[in-house]
C-alpha cells in the first residue's frame, strides 16, 4: 500500500526502501486506530527495525467532534454542557476552566462557598482521572487486579458526582456564576467517608505495584525524553513534574482560591514511566489532603453569584416575585450579554495545563472558544519518547502520557 495521505508517508517510504544485506527490511506496523492500549482512537504508525522502533508517527483526529465550533451557536450557559464532553475523565475541570474564563469577561465575583466547592470537586475529578489512568496503565502492562480496585474507588467518586449534579460523568455542575444546584443534603458525610478510606486504598495499589519487580522491570528507565524537548513540544502536567520541573497552575497562577489550600507539588527527577507513576500516586495523596481541607473549612453562604442579569433567580423567588420571573424568562430565552473582549484562562487539569480562550463580541453567544488541551501537547512527546526503544515498551510509554483522545481532537 502506498497512500500519500498517510502522515509523513512512512508506509510508502518503507515500501521503496531497498532490502538490506541479509534480506532484512524495515516493517511498518499500524498500531491502532483500534488498539486496546490507546484507549481511544489513536493510530500510531511505527516503523520497526527488528524489535526496535525506528520511527513513530501518531495520526490523530479520529475523534474530532467540532466542539469548539459548536460553542459558537450556543448561548454562554448552554456551552457548559459541551465542555463536559471534551474530556470524559475530567468534565468538571473543563466546566471550571470555561466558567472561569467567562466569569473573567463578565467580572463576576464568585462567593466563597462556590469556590471551595469547585476546588473540592475538581480535586475529586483529579482522583477519578488518575484512578482510571492507573487502572488502565497497569492492565496494559499486565497487572489485572489493580484495574478492578481502581474502578471500585472511581465508582464511589462517580456516585458523589451523581449525588451533586444528577449525572455520573456529564455533570455540567459548574455554571457561569457559581454552581448549578445547591449542594445536596448529606454530602459532607459521603465525601468524608470516601476520604477516610481512600489513603488506605492508595497504599493498597502501592502494595501491588511500587515494589513489584515486574512493574519496576517494565517501567523503570523506559520512556525517557529530555526536559528541553518536552518544553519545546508543549508538554505539561505530571510528565514535566516527573522530570523535575514543579510546574503547576494551582501554585503558579492560583484560581478559585487554591492559594488558601496547603498542598505540595510532587516531583521526581528520573523522568521515566516509573517516575510518572510515582508522581501521580503522590498527587492523589495531595488531592486527598486538599479535599479534606475543603471539607473542614467549607465556608457557609450563597453558592451562586449575586448577579440577577446572569444567574437564574432562586426558584422560590421566581415563583413569587414578578421581577425575578422576568429575569428568569429573559435569561432562559436570550441568555446574557457578555462584554466585548477576549480572555485566556489556565487551570491545572489532571493531565496538565488546560486553557480556555474565549472571545466575546458583546452578544449572548461566544464569538470563539478555543481549548488548549493538555492531551494534545502531551501526545506530541510520543515519537521522541519511543524512537529507539523496544516495541513492547511502546505500550508502557504511551500509557504514561495519559492522554484522552477526545481531549486532543476536540
Amino acid at each position: 500500500m502506498s497512500d500519500s495521505s498517510v502522515p509523513g508517508n512512512i508506509l510508502a517510504e518503507a515500501e521503496e526502501e531497498p532490502q538490506q544485506p541479509g534480506g532484512t527490511r524495515r516493517m511498518v506496523l499500524n498500531m491502532g486506530p483500534q488498539h486496546p492500549s490507546t484507549h481511544g482512537v489513536l493510530r500510531l504508525l511505527i516503523e520497526l527495525d527488528g524489535e526496535i522502533v525506528a520511527k513513530c508517527e501518531p495520526d490523530i483526529g479520529f475523534l474530532h467532534t467540532g466542539i469548539e465550533k459548536e460553542c459558537e451557536v450556543k448561548t454562554y450557559q448552554q456551552a457548559v454542557t459541551l465542555t463536559d464532553r471534551v474530556d470524559y475523565l475530567a468534565p468538571l475541570s473543563n466546566n471550571l476552566c470555561y466558567c472561569l474564563a467567562v466569569e473573567k469577561l463578565l467580572q463576576l465575583e464568585i462567593p466563597p462557598q462556590a469556590q471551595w466547592m469547585r476546588v473540592m470537586l475538581t480535586e475529586l475529578t483529579r482522583l477519578n482521572s488518575h484512578l482510571v489512568w492507573l487502572g488502565t496503565h497497569a492492565i496494559d502492562i499486565g497487572a489485572m487486579s489493580v484495574f478492578l480496585y481502581c474502578f471500585r474507588e472511581r465508582e464511589e467518586i462517580l456516585k458523589i458526582f451523581e449525588m451533586f449534579s444528577g449525572q455520573r460523568m456529564m455533570t455540567s455542575y459548574f455554571r457561569i456564576g457559581g454552581l448549578a444546584l445547591e449542594p445536596p443534603r448529606g454530602w459532607q458525610k459521603r465525601v468524608t467517608s470516601f476520604i477516610d478510606i481512600f489513603p488506605s486504598r492508595i497504599d493498597e495499589y502501592e502494595n501491588l505495584l511500587t515494589n513489584n519487580q515486574i512493574w519496576i522491570g517494565r517501567t523503570r528507565g523506559v520512556g525517557f525524553i529530555p526536559l528541553e524537548d518536552m518544553l519545546d513540544l508543549g508538554v505539561t502536567g505530571p510528565m514535566l513534574r516527573a522530570a523535575g520541573l514543579a510546574m503547576d497552575a494551582r501554585k503558579d497562577a492560583p484560581y478559585t482560591s487554591y492559594e488558601k489550600f496547603d498542598f505540595e507539588v510532587p516531583t521526581r527527577t528520573e523522568n521515566d514511566v516509573y517516575a510518572r507513576y510515582q508522581v501521580r500516586i503522590e498527587e492523589m495523596r495531595q488531592s486527598t489532603r486538599i479535599i479534606r481541607q475543603a471539607l473542614e473549612g467549607m465556608p457557609a453562604g450563597p453558592w451562586k453569584a449575586d448577579a440577577p442579569h446572569v444567574v437564574l433567580p432562586d426558584r422560590e423567588k421566581m415563583k413569587t416575585q414578578m421581577e425575578a420571573l422576568i429575569y428568569h424568562f429573559k435569561i432562559v430565552t436570550e441568555g446574557f450579554r457578555v462584554p466585548e473582549g477576549e480572555v485566556y484562562q489556565v487551570i491545572e487539569s489532571p493531565r496538565g495545563e488546560l486553557g480556555y480562550y474565549v472571545v466575546s463580541d458583546g452578544t449572548t453567544r461566544p464569538y470563539r472558544v478555543h481549548m488548549r488541551t493538555p492531551s494534545f501537547g502531551n501526545l506530541q512527546a510520543v515519537p521522541k519518547m519511543v524512537e529507539g526503544i523496544l516495541i513492547a515498551d511502546v505500550i508502557a510509554s504511551i500509557g504514561s502520557v495519559d492522554f484522552v483522545l477526545g481531549d486532543s481532537d476536540r
Binding site: 448552554q78 487486579s145 449534579s165 445536596p184 493498597e204 501491588l208 519487580q213
Partner: protein, 165 residues
Amino acid sequence: MAEKIDILGAAGAIAKGLGVTFKEMMSPTVTENYPDEPPKFEERFRGSHILQRDENGMEKCVACFLCAAACPADCIYIEAAENTETTRISGGERYAKVYNIDYNRCIFCGYCVEACPTDAITHGHGFELASYNTSTLIKRKEDMLAPVPPGAHAPVIAAEEAAAH
C-alpha cells in the same frame, strides 16, 4: 529492563501483592446485580422525563416554551393550545397540545427542568431507553405524563375534541 532481579525482594513483593488479593477476597462485593436487581440511583439522577400533574389532575405544563429555549440539544417540540370552557387540560391559560422530546438528541443535561417555571417537566429515574429503531425514541406527551392522582378529576375534554384526539 532490570538486569539483575533480587529474588527475595521479588518474592516479598509478590507475597505483599497476594496479601491484598486475599484481603479483598474476604471483603464484601460492591458490584450491583443489574439487571437481576434494580440499580441504585442518587436522588438527583437525571433520567427520562416525567411531565407532572397538579393535585387536581391538571397538567402543570402551560406551554410557555421556556424548556425548548433552554435546551442545548434543541430536542423539545411543543405545540400550544388555549384552554377553553369545555376543554381544560392545564392550570394556566394555555396547555401543550403536542409535547415531544427527541431522545435521539437529548443529552440529559437538566436545563429544561431548570428553566420550567411551573415544575412541569422533571427528571425521573428511567434509563432503559435503548431501542433498535430510532423513530421510537421520540417520546410524546402521553408517554411522559404522570398518572392522574387518585381522587382527582381527569382533565375535561369536550366530546368532539376527545374524538379528534
